[in-house]
């Protein structure tokens, strides 16, 4: 079994314009003691490598559930999810963890930084789990903090930073492993417009460098940064639209 997911890990060598995410007839239901809620119902979608996709929809429509499945934090109840051509929908927790490491980066609305760790240590964390050497970690973290213009705050704790700064740290943590896919869940939801714009510009920059981005958002403004907007309603994709105005926003 362990050989299996190592193999998958090795296979993730993308080719340009290849389909990175292929979701077919995907269903996700949650069961409590008496009620079963269908969060996603027969979702079909593809996301190509290098694409910037926005998922939109009202609260409770299943956006975050879909993002969690794409991010391999959760498994679908039914249907297929192929990542870089390989079925990952039924993988076990350990296999998903292995696959996530270094391949996927996450950015959350509430930043989700660890309060007890400094900025440097927060960003360093995914590299530790990749068992990277200390020197290598220091080099990579320093570089990414400089790029995010937050290096001068390296020794500060999250609560000593502004919301915008915290989200930049979160993005630094998401990209420090140079993942091919970044999943952003309402990345500007807790920020003012100035800091929000800064974060969106950063994501766009990363996308232009080749990183695939899937972003869940409520904001029409933010969705304009994406190449494509997927609209969800009651667990189903209702519309998909290509975004032509993207260039103007950057």
């Amino acid at each position: 079994m362990s050989q299996n997911y190592w193999k998958i890990s090795l296979y993730i060598n993308y080719k340009p314009n290849q389909i990175m995410i292929q979701i077919t007839n995907l269903k996700k239901s949650f069961r409590t003691e008496e009620v079963e809620t269908l969060a996603l119902n027969k979702v079909n979608m593809n996301i190509a490598e290098g694409e910037f996709a926005a998922i939109m929809g009202p609260s409770g429509c299943g956006k975050s559930t879909l993002l969690n499945i794409i991010g391999m934090l959760d498994n679908p109840t039914e249907g297929s999810y192929r990542f870089a051509g390989h079925e990952v929908g039924g993988l076990k927790e350990r296999q998903r963890t292995e696959l996530r490491k270094g391949n996927l980066g996450f950015v959350f609305q509430s930043f989700n930084l660890i309060d007890e760790l400094t900025v440097f240590e927060n960003v360093e964390l995914p590299l530790i789990y990749l068992k990277m050497s200390k020197n290598e970690r220091r080099e990579k973290v320093t570089k990414v903090l400089e790029r995010m213009k937050i290096a001068h705050r390296a020794k500060h704790f999250p609560h000593q930073l502004s919301g915008g700064q915290q989200q930049r740290v979160a993005i630094a943590r998401a990209v420090v492993t140079k993942p091919k896919l970044i999943l952003a869940d309402e990345p500007t939801g807790n920020l003012d417009s100035k800091n929000g714009t800064e974060v969106m510009n950063l994501l766009t920059e990363l996308n232009q460098e080749g990183t695939t981005i899937v972003m869940v958002t409520h904001s029409d403004h933010d969705s304009n940064y994406a190449h494509r907007v997927i609209n969800l309603f009651d667990g189903q994709i209702v519309t998909e639209s290509q975004n032509r105005a993207m260039g103007a926003m950057v």
């Binding site: 975050s64 959760d74 989700n112």
Partner: protein
């Protein structure tokens, strides 16, 4: 409002059944342990306080150092009490006990029954001690010879009822052994330092009265109200000068006390308050096995610590659950509840839980009382708890514990800010608390100390049982010889000695276990004794077979032998005596001592026996010698039998043939030896139970704290998992913190335990050295237990779906 609080409290208890069970169960265990130990301590402290004059009664002790031997005794000379009363107006009354003759055989129908709870007492006994009469006048009951006062139990045993006993006669196996029962008293309370059922008249004691140099009487004086016993003790030197010294000059060539003391000798008398005897006195010839104040302190500390550990758990577990109730607090605050009311609500909840725990604790105490009595050697009853002071404690304790345990969570919960908790962000503000870590360290430090202590007590007991004590205590049967003449006893011994399963047989009046006969004589290396050449030495009368039967070893010279006609004046000494006589070779040397008639006798040393412990291993081995003389109150048989039961039947039949109607009393030497350490065995068992309990409660607490920490760190664990942390990463992250606490506890506990046990071991002349491995193994055990306890919660947290913990919608 209170109804609403009660409803919420009950529903919370019920919703988290497992948690509530741990919380209430842990507290109940702690409370139950506290109640048991409190009863135990109260019982220990109550000794002899039933006497109306308890605060004015004092026992006279004798401390004698002579010839390098120390005698620290609970007895004094027979004329001492009367002399003090005569010469000093401070003394209101005195009374004496004499029980050097040991057990008596008392006739019941056609059979003699050995009774150990017998003593001779002065007629003033009832003026000193409060022993209420049921029938008869105790004021005059022991005025005449051949009178006896018995307890209610003895009256029922021998006469069927109390009323039948009065005026009736008891028959013992002694000459002139008919005693008239002149009074029946209530049974002596169990918490008395003496426990007799028969008080025979002092007039029947066959003793050379008036001798200030022999110390054989337990003597008690009553001082008049207002007299200070310490001040009165200063009178003893006067008594020594006036009464003891003249006799010492006459018998032992002692010129003056100064001369006596210059030679390194000493004689002192002192007083022990009656209420101090049970816990503060451990002299030679005590009237029974006393307690030890050290153990009372240790148990009191253990009880308090266990109660504290249980309270700490209660606090930790309540706090652990509190994060889950943040929303309720937030809503109550939004709806207008004041902080005061919230504090009241949570205090009410914790007090209710503590009351519930107390009911459970009383149940546990009731169930475990007889077990505890067995291991602690007590006769406590659950009914004692109904007495007013206990009842008050039982009622107040839950409020105290509930308040103590509830105060932290109450203030902690009620301080939640509604805006923050309703946004679900309370967790971030409550986890940075060192207080709980300190509590865990305290719990584990206490537990580790208790475990190390228990292991060392057991090791010392094992050491006592297996160490080379200089004789072979296994497979030696000791049988009391019935009241027959010497020839018949010899015949019984010889007949049994011929049995195939009996390897050797000897008379054994003196045995190397406590509470056996002892004779202490002054010996000198020159014919005229003086303070420079004289020393005190045990002098035991043995026969030819005694040394091989007891498995002792002659290391120089030879044993007594019928081949040598001169052995009646020969003496065998132990190594300690040989060392006293160094550098000369002791074999062939002479020792001198006065016999019963006061004439000086010369003895020739023919052998040296390897040192053997003839008293508890708490004491060093003093000078001892053997002489070939008849002492036949008991016989010892070294046996080699697989079917001990049938051998015993054969031996009993032989005894019954010679002495029909006489009791057949036997014991194995190893059992008698073990009896010397009964107190330590009890302490070991009690300490073991407390150690297990402390560990269980501490682990419950740790479990609670692990639950709490896992709950507090749910979000962090989620983030780490999203970033690629494996379950192993998470488990080790959560466990390491706790293991660090346990390790820290060990660092504190190890030296404290070492110090306490070092003090305890100092009481033993023959003791183990504390091995470092005990500390390492205990530390490792604590770590493993902590790891196992924490692992459950850590694994649960590690395997939880991170999506749930990061959901912000």
């Amino acid at each position: 409002m209170i109804k609403n609080y009660l409803k919420i409290a009950w529903r919370n208890l019920w919703k988290y059944k497992g948690f509530s069970a741990i919380n209430v169960g842990g507290l109940a265990l702690g409370l139950s342990c506290f109640i048991l130990i409190a009863l135990y301590i109260a019982d220990e402290l109550s000794y002899d306080r039933y006497n109306e004059k308890a605060d004015r009664i004092f026992r006279i002790n004798s401390d004698i150092r002579f010839g390098g031997t120390d005698l620290i005794m609970a007895v004094s000379a027979d004329p001492m009490g009367a002399t003090l009363k005569k010469d000093y107006p401070q003394v209101e009354e005195y009374t004496r006990f004499y029980n050097s003759d040991g057990a008596k055989l008392i006739k019941n129908g056609y059979e003699y029954i050995p009774e150990g709870r017998v003593t001779h007492a002065d007629s003033t006994l009832f003026k000193v001690f409060t022993l209420p009469s049921i029938l008869g006048n105790t004021a005059t009951a022991l005025n005449d010879p051949n009178t006896v006062v018995i307890t209610e139990s003895a009256a029922r045993k021998y006469f069927g009822s109390v009323s039948n006993a009065l005026g009736n006669t008891l028959e013992t196996d002694e000459e002139n052994g008919l005693y008239k029962v002149t009074a029946i008293i209530k049974d002596v309370p169990h918490n008395s330092h003496f426990n007799y059922d028969f008080f025979f008249s002092m007039d029947n004691v066959d003793y050379n009265f008036g001798n200030f140099l022999s110390h054989n009487f337990h003597t008690y004086i009553v001082l008049k109200p207002g007299e200070d016993y310490k001040e009165f003790s200063k009178k003893f030197p006067e008594v020594i000068d006036k009464y003891v010294l003249p006799q010492a000059k006459e018998y032992m060539n002692i010129a003056s006390m100064a001369d006596f003391e210059r030679s390194g000798n000493n004689l002192e008398y002192s007083l022990t308050p009656l209420t101090d005897i049970h816990l503060h006195s451990s002299r030679s010839v005590e009237m029974g096995v006393n307690g030890n104040i050290q153990y009372v302190y240790i148990f009191a500390a253990a009880a308090l610590f266990i109660l504290l550990i249980a309270c700490i758990n209660f606090m930790n577990l309540s706090t652990a659950r509190s994060a889950g109730r943040a929303k309720e607090v937030g809503m109550r605050k939004v709806l207008g509840t004041e902080k005061k009311a919230l504090v009241g609500q949570f205090l009410l909840e914790s007090t209710l839980m503590a009351c519930f725990a107390m009911f459970l604790a009383i149940g546990i105490t009731w169930l475990t009382m007889s077990w505890f009595n067995t291991i602690a050697g007590k006769e406590m009853v659950i009914g004692t708890l109904l007495q007013t002071p206990y009842l008050l404690v039982l009622i107040l304790l839950p409020f105290l514990v509930g308040g103590l345990a509830g105060v932290y969570p109450a203030f902690f919960l009620s301080s939640f800010q509604p805006v923050i908790v309703l946004k679900g962000k309370q967790n971030a503000t409550v986890k940075k608390s060192n207080f709980r870590n300190i509590l865990v360290i305290f719990q584990f430090t206490t537990s580790i100390i208790l475990v190390i202590g228990t292991v060392i007590i057991y090791q010392q007991l094992h050491h006592i049982q297996t160490s080379k004590i200089g004789f072979d205590k296994e497979q030696v049967l000791v049988v009391d010889n019935p009241g027959l003449n010497w020839e018949k006893r010899e015949s019984i011994k010889n007949e049994i000695g011929k049995l195939s399963d009996v390897k050797s047989a000897s008379f054994a009046g003196f045995l190397p276990v406590e509470n056996s006969s002892r004779t202490d004589n002054t010996f000198s290396t020159e014919a005229v004794a003086n303070t420079d050449n004289a020393f005190n030495m045990q002098n035991w009368s043995i026969d030819y077979n005694y040394i091989p039967t007891l498995g002792m070893e002659i290391i120089k010279g030879r044993n007594f032998s019928p081949d040598f006609g001169t052995d009646s004046t020969a003496i065998i000494i132990n190594e300690t005596t040989a060392n006293l006589l160094e550098p000369e070779d002791p074999i062939g040397k002479k020792l001198y001592s006065r016999d019963e008639s006061g004439l000086t006798q010369e003895y020739s040393i023919i052998g040296v026996v390897k040192n053997f412990n003839y008293e508890s291993l708490r004491k060093n081995i003093g000078p001892l010698s053997f002489r070939l003389r008849n002492n036949s109150w008991a016989s010892a048989y070294r046996i080699n039998a697989t079917d001990i039961k049938s051998l015993l039947q054969t031996i009993e039949a032989t005894y019954k043939d010679y002495a029909p109607g006489m009791p057949f009393n036997y014991q194995f030497l190893d059992e008698a030896f073990d009896n010397m350490y009964r107190q330590e065995q009890r302490v070991g068992k009690v300490a073991f139970s407390f150690a297990v309990l402390a560990i269980v409660i501490a682990c419950l607490g740790l479990f609670g704290l692990a639950t709490y920490m896992a709950e507090q760190r749910t979000r962090e664990i989620g983030i780490r998992k999203v970033l690629g942390a494996s379950a192993t990463n998470v488990v080790s992250m959560l466990s390491v913190d706790f293991l660090r606490l346990v390790l820290f506890s060990f660092v504190i506990a190890a030296p404290v335990a070492w110090w306490i046990m070092h003090k305890w071991l100092e009481d033993f002349a023959f003791r183990i050295s504390m091995g470092w491995w005990i500390f390492i193994v205990t530390g490792a055990l604590a770590l493993i237990l902590a790891l196992l306890t924490v692992s459950y919660q850590a694994l649960k947290a590690a395997n939880a779906n991170p999506v749930k913990s990061l959901r912000t919608e």
